[in-house]
Amino acid sequence: MNPALGEIWVYLSTTPLLGLTLTLLAYQGALWLYRRANHHPLLNPVMVAVTVLVLVLTLTGTPYQTYFDGAQFVHFLLGPATVALAIPLYAQWERLKGMLLPLLLTLVAGSLTAALSAVGIAALLGASRESVMSMAPKSVTMPIAMGVAERLGGLPSLTAVLVMSTGILGAVGARYVYRLLRIEDHAVRGFAIGIASHGIGTARAFQVSEQAGAFAALAMGLNGLLTAAMLPWILPWLESLLH
């Protein structure tokens, strides 16, 4: 780098503008790639953009905190976006009132399975307490999961990684589970993937059919509410039983 360029870099790297612009550029690029690849689940835009950003930050020796000073403006919107989830949830309301009881029972069972099996397996295989707590809300949509992880004493940024991985795993793996279990009803398929793998699973369900997508969106919203309400009570209680 010649001296003039070096000075420009030093200036830019200390303003929020750079982190913010980099985030949007990485997202646009990842989105372009995802569309080009026909929405292949392994090219999930969040995963691609994060990989690019981590590479850029590591190669330029930029600390995460410096980047986040700019990117926080995007991050902040997770709050209003969570509130906005009420609108698609309401759109499904009329349709779902009729089968509320089976859906709610399934929600409780699926939600508990997702959280407790993850916590149990991670703890049995020797993961640290912070990692286990970050793992607990992994099946819930990210803004809620990060809030829950913070409440539990986990690491919200680690939870973000685990949530993303869970979404991709569900989107890729669900079809094999359904084939094995001979589940064909799209409402059932959608609801199950929405419980287990939140928005990324929901996006996948919408590719299968409108009905699967609607049920997945509902499951994602309800599981967010249920997990947020339930885990901060259940996990400390489980921990006290174990120690």
């Binding site: 949007l24 997202y27 994060v50 950003l53 981590v54 995460y64 990117a71 991050h75 919107l77 997770l78 709050g79 209003p80 976006a81 509130v83 609108i87 698609p88 309401y90 309301w93 009729g98 089968m99 009881l101 089976p102 399934t106 699926g110 939600s111 399975t113 997702a114 099996s117 993850a118 397996i121 991670a122 295989l125 990210m142 803004p143 809620i144 809030g147 919200p156 940024s157 680690l158 973000a160 990684v161 869970t166 795993l169 569900g170 793996g173 589970v177 009803d185 059932v188 398929r189 609801f191 419980i195 287990a196 793998s197 499951a219 967010g224 509410l225 947020a228 309400a229 901060p232 009570w233």
Partner: protein
């Protein structure tokens, strides 16, 4: 759009205030979502403006995860140390919860009059 954004922020603010004030374990924005949902049920649906703004934000929901996701770079050491329990737990738990949910809803919706009967 600004009106709708203001409304979303007001619901979030009320949610945060309730979460702190009553020391609830639920994140503030989730309470805001619950309150907005209740308001929508009472008012029988969102305005066109609110629906448009919400759709706009939710269409790009993935963008909002990127800053937090990039925080993975703070955890490389932890991931290197604990990759086995984390990977096994993620894969097994995700597939298991899909299977449990699908089997249960399949069984339950066959027995209720509202469920969809599939041969």
């Amino acid at each position: 759009m600004i009106g709708a954004l203001t409304l979303l922020l007001v619901f979030q603010l009320v949610g945060e205030a309730l979460a702190r004030g009553l020391d609830l374990p639920i994140p503030g924005p989730v309470i805001g979502m619950g309150l907005l949902f209740a308001a929508l049920v009472l008012r029988k649906g969102p305005s066109a403006e609110l629906r448009g703004t919400a759709t706009g934000i939710l269409q790009h929901l993935s963008l909002l995860f990127i800053p937090a996701g990039t925080g993975v770079m703070l955890h490389f050491q932890r991931l290197a140390d604990e990759w086995l329990p984390l990977t096994v737990a993620l894969i097994a738990s995700t597939l298991l919860s899909i299977a449990v949910s699908a089997l249960l809803l399949h069984a339950l919706s066959r027995r209720t009059p509202h469920g969809e009967e599939r041969p």
